[in-house]
Amino acid sequence: MTHVDDIISGIDTLRPIPPVAAQIMALAEDENSSMVDIADLIVHDPSITASILKICNAAHFGLSRQVHSVRDAIVLLGLDEIIELVLLNATAENFRDEPDGYGLGEGELWHHAVISAHTAKILAENHGFAARKHLIFTAALLKDIGKIIMGRFVAFSYEKINILVHAKGYSFSEAEKEVIGINHEELGARVGRKWRFGDQLIYMMRHHHMTDETARGNPETALVYLADIICMMIGFGTGMDGLAYRFYSEVLERMKLSEKDLQNAILNTGYRRQKLDKLLSLV
């Protein structure tokens, strides 16, 4: 087994996404699916029902009355919010294992995943991709799942990576690739393949740092990238890698995003932070 095979075999240590959440992800990616299809899946799954009711009835969630069924929750919160809760609940457990090596504090990778997913969704709604927002949300939520496995390998090679980044101008993921043989976005895409995610979701996870020029023309991937760089600039959930990724102004230009749009997105992310902090404590 090569070193890279050894790393890839670490995928088996993750807890796979529950089948119903995987089906929701597949429906979110399918342009022919409807919200009714997704609602049906949620309503008929007992484990999802239990977790949604638990979250919605927590005192701090702030609902004005007790929720007795998923249908109730959908009426009160809207289906969009319920879909997001299902996806967050399905992925949270993996992110509870902190990836050492990236210098992240407790819960920081999960915090970054949730904030960037919400930021990506708002960007999608504001810039003409509302119909794809669940896919974009999911890709932003899962884009760094490879870091959970990569962490200990990054820790072992940190000195070499650090020299490439700080003395040779490499981005952090270019240095991961050079030193370890695979980077966290490639590994994340392999997780997606193993868990049978759809092609587009895997593509967005694989290319969220935009190192591939073709990906820079893909608007859904661009929105995930933008959400990621916004979180980096704010300092949300990045560690030793900091802001050591590449900025491609052409991505913003193709999306017709101005400096003001970028700053507004940062402001909106700050505005939602308290609400998201509450949500994070419940999922």
Binding site: S171, I234, T238, Y245, R246, K260, L262, I266
Partner: protein, 172 residues
Amino acid sequence: MLNAYISHQPVAVMTAVNFGELKMSRNPAETLVAFSIGSGIGVSIYDPMTKSGGLLNFVLPDASMLSPSKARIQPYMFADTGLAAFIDALHDFGAQRENFKVVLAGGAQIIDQTAEFNLGHKNYQAITSLLKAAHLPVQYADIGGISLRTLRLDIGNGDTVIQTLGQTEVTV
């Protein structure tokens, strides 16, 4: 004074100053800390005579350009509205501007971040020109690069500490 946080804790305490927040203190047992500063800038101002000070953790350069209405809700997100509120809060403490020790940390940039979108640089330009207009010299600034920083202000002795991930900390 605006609705800035003021600590009255009697025992040793470390208080986080999240991005978009201003926190003030004259509790000698308190340390204010802004963790994980990226392209935003942590501004520490301390008056050794009154042993009081605060930390502003802003992330955007100019409220008047972006959204004066949103700045009324989140004044500490911005250099201009944040610094104005900070100076008012220091005066409310009886701090004298000629004593102010000003330290800045942050303004990091993504690799190849072009001028138009270079928020770290714009934040630094904004805060230095606002401080200059207010006749407040900067004692120490650690700005730019690609790493996150943590900025701490110990209210008891006025030590301001900058920690860049992976590097030795600097005490001012």
